[in-house]
Each structure stands twice: as structure tokens, then as C-alpha cells.
């Protein structure tokens, strides 16, 4: 028994254990997603977050200890963001063709996401760092982390908000757009990518290839737009 405790106390503080468990939790989440027939609300990231959080709380492990192992995965967000240049380049001809409606939808969709999230949060009594963490919540998380840090939000809270936003977007987008009568798949996909980043994009690809491609563009463009606008927005209203 003491041996097991010794092994545990060694492993629980080493990066190896938490890195391995992060990958394992993700594989379980991915398996559940596939088993459900790729339903948007069975989100692999959300499942991994719940599994790992529960594990940390029950074993009384601090997030700092966990992150020492998980940082190796976290680090890859940087090069992954750079890699988003590739889908941007591949769809360049289509981007140019619908440049005007896309630009308008980007500005409106991006601003509405930022302003309405902050306004609703403020109306419900949120203030300070927590409210600031809401500002970049529509943007893909590697970028949202950077924006949140720049404007003085809590980057870890922002990531959680980003992921939940993505799941909400993926669940509501099809019934919502049917309800308001937008049938053009470019418009449907693009707006979903702007409002719900990668998770919304994954959902759009399930529905239609064109919707998916435009969602990817929406995600990338809103990452750039929000990075530029969020600091100005915060200076004006905070």
C-alpha cells in the first residue's frame, strides 16, 4: 500500500503522468463523439475538460502541477495558429469573389459577438477581469488566449468560455438559420465560423462542404479582426 502511495506521489508531480492523461482523456472524448454519430453536443474537448477537471479535484492536484505536463500540448497552439495560413491560402480565390459580403458579415458578426457578450455580462453583474475575459470568446482559442492576456482578462477562463461558445454555436446554428431564412451556405458557414470558431467550423463541415470552407475563413478573419478591435473596444468602454 505504501509502495503504491510512493509511486503515486512520484508520478503525480511528474509531467509524464498529466501529459499522458491529457491524451487519454482526449481519446475517450473522441471515442464518445464518434459513438454518438458526431453529435455537436458530444464535444471531445468538453468531455476531456470534464474528465481531467474531475480527476484534478478528486486527487487534490493543483492546476500548476497539471500544467507542467500538459504544457507540451499547449505549446503547439502557436504553430497551429500559424498553420491556419494554409486553408486561408487554399480558399483565396473564393474569398476574393465574396469579399464584400464577407467583410460586412465579419464586421457585424464580430462586433455583435464582442459587444453583446460584454453587455449581457455587465447587465448580469459581471465586472473586471471576468467581464474582460468574455471579450474574445468568439475567437479560436490560441488567438483568444493572446487577446485575453493583452486586454487584461483571465486567459484560462477565456479558453473555457471560447470552448463553451463553440459548442453553443454548433448546436444552435442550423435551427437558428433555418428560422431566420438564410439558405445560402456561404452565409451560413461564414457567420458560424465568425461566431463559433473551430467547433462551429467542424459543425459546418458536417452539413455542407461550402459551408465548412467559408466557416474556416470566418474563423481566421475574426481571429484577425478581434485581435485588432478588442484592445480598442476595451480602451473605449473600460
Amino acid at each position: 500500500m505504501t509502495e503504491i502511495l510512493d509511486i503515486w506521489s512520484y508520478l503525480s508531480t511528474s509531467p509524464l503522468l498529466w501529459l499522458t492523461l491529457t491524451l487519454l482523456a482526449y481519446l475517450i472524448g473522441l471515442g464518445a463523439f464518434n459513438l454518438s454519430g458526431n453529435r455537436p453536443f458530444v464535444n471531445p474537448v468538453l468531455i476531456s475538460m470534464i474528465l481531467l477537471s474531475t480527476l484534478l479535484v478528486t486527487t487534490k492536484t493543483s492546476y500548476t502541477t497539471y500544467f507542467e505536463g500538459a504544457q507540451f500540448v499547449h505549446f503547439l497552439l502557436g504553430p497551429a495558429t500559424v498553420a491556419l495560413a494554409v486553408p486561408l491560402w487554399k480558399n483565396w480565390q473564393r474569398i476574393k469573389k465574396s469579399a464584400l459580403p464577407m467583410l460586412a458579415a465579419l464586421v457585424v458578426g464580430g462586433l455583435v459577438a464582442m459587444v453583446s457578450a460584454t453587455a449581457i455580462g455587465y447587465a448580469c453583474g459581471l465586472r473586471g477581469e471576468v467581464l474582460l475575459s468574455l471579450v474574445p470568446k468568439a475567437v479560436t482559442s490560441p488567438v483568444a488566449i493572446g487577446v485575453s492576456e493583452t486586454i487584461g482578462g483571465l486567459s484560462t477562463l477565456t479558453v473555457a468560455l471560447v470552448l463553451i461558445t463553440g459548442v453553443i454555436g454548433a448546436v444552435v446554428t442550423t435551427p437558428l438559420l433555418n428560422l431566420i431564412g438564410v439558405r445560402d451556405y456561404r452565409a451560413r458557414g461564414f457567420a458560424t465560423g465568425v461566431a463559433a470558431h473551430g467547433i462551429g467550423t467542424a459543425r459546418a463541415f458536417q452539413v455542407d462542404g461550402t459551408a465548412g470552407a467559408f466557416a474556416g475563413i470566418g474563423m481566421v478573419l475574426n481571429a484577425i479582426f478581434t485581435s485588432l478591435i478588442a484592445p480598442i473596444f476595451v480602451q473605449l468602454f473600460f
Partner: protein, 121 residues
């Protein structure tokens, strides 16, 4: 593979250096992405080489969110007070943003005299 990964890291590094030295509001990786996109558009031959590594990385994009997402454990005891307002803000703003963005795209496209690309669902 190593070379292509090195290229991505190199662009991120240049992005970080530019962001810090000019105190730009953009995160370093975003600047790196823009620079790489410019390179790909002006020198398309680079594209196919880097494409495989890039899409490999992007196909596991959601895994990369997990470590930061688990950070929510630090806010668990605050969730009783901030949980509901945050949920209201997220649901409300996501619905509004999708609707506003899609309608804007549709109306601007029609105002230019173009038809919707697909009418059926």
C-alpha cells in the same frame, strides 16, 4: 516534417519578435499566420510542401485546447456566482452574432445583385 514544423515555428518566432518590438496588439502567432499567408500567396510553390504538416496539426486542433480548458478548475468555487451570468452572455451573444452575421452576408450579397448560391436546405 521537421523542416516544415521548423518553418511554422520560425514564422511564429518572427511574429513574436515583431509583436514585442513594435508593441503590436496582435498575438505573435497571428502575425506569423498573416506573414505565412502572404508568403504562400506570393510564392505558391511553398504551399504543397508545408500543407501536410499544417493540416496534420490542424486536424488535432481541438486536442490543443484541452490543457488551457482544464484551467476552469481554478474558477470552480466562483462558478456559483459567475456561472449563470457567463452562461447568459455566451448563449445570447452567440445566437445574436450568428444571426447578425448571416443576415448581413445575405443582404450585402443581394444588394450587389448576386443570387444566393444555394436556395434549398
Amino acid at each position: 516534417m521537421i523542416l516544415h514544423f521548423g518553418i511554422l515555428l520560425g514564422f511564429q518566432l518572427v511574429g513574436e519578435i515583431l509583436a514585442r518590438s513594435f508593441s503590436l496588439p496582435l498575438p505573435g502567432p497571428v502575425i506569423g499566420m498573416v506573414l505565412l499567408a502572404i508568403l504562400l500567396l506570393t510564392r505558391p510553390r511553398v504551399g504543397p510542401a508545408i500543407e501536410k504538416t499544417a493540416s496534420g496539426l490542424l486536424s488535432h486542433l481541438s486536442l490543443l485546447f484541452v490543457p488551457a480548458g482544464v484551467g476552469i478548475v481554478q474558477y470552480l468555487d466562483q462558478m456559483s456566482t459567475i456561472g449563470l451570468p457567463l452562461a447568459a452572455a455566451l448563449v445570447g451573444s452567440t445566437v445574436l452574432s450568428i444571426a447578425a452575421g448571416a443576415l448581413t452576408f445575405k443582404f450585402v450579397n443581394q444588394a450587389r445583385g448576386y443570387k444566393d448560391e444555394r436556395q434549398n436546405d
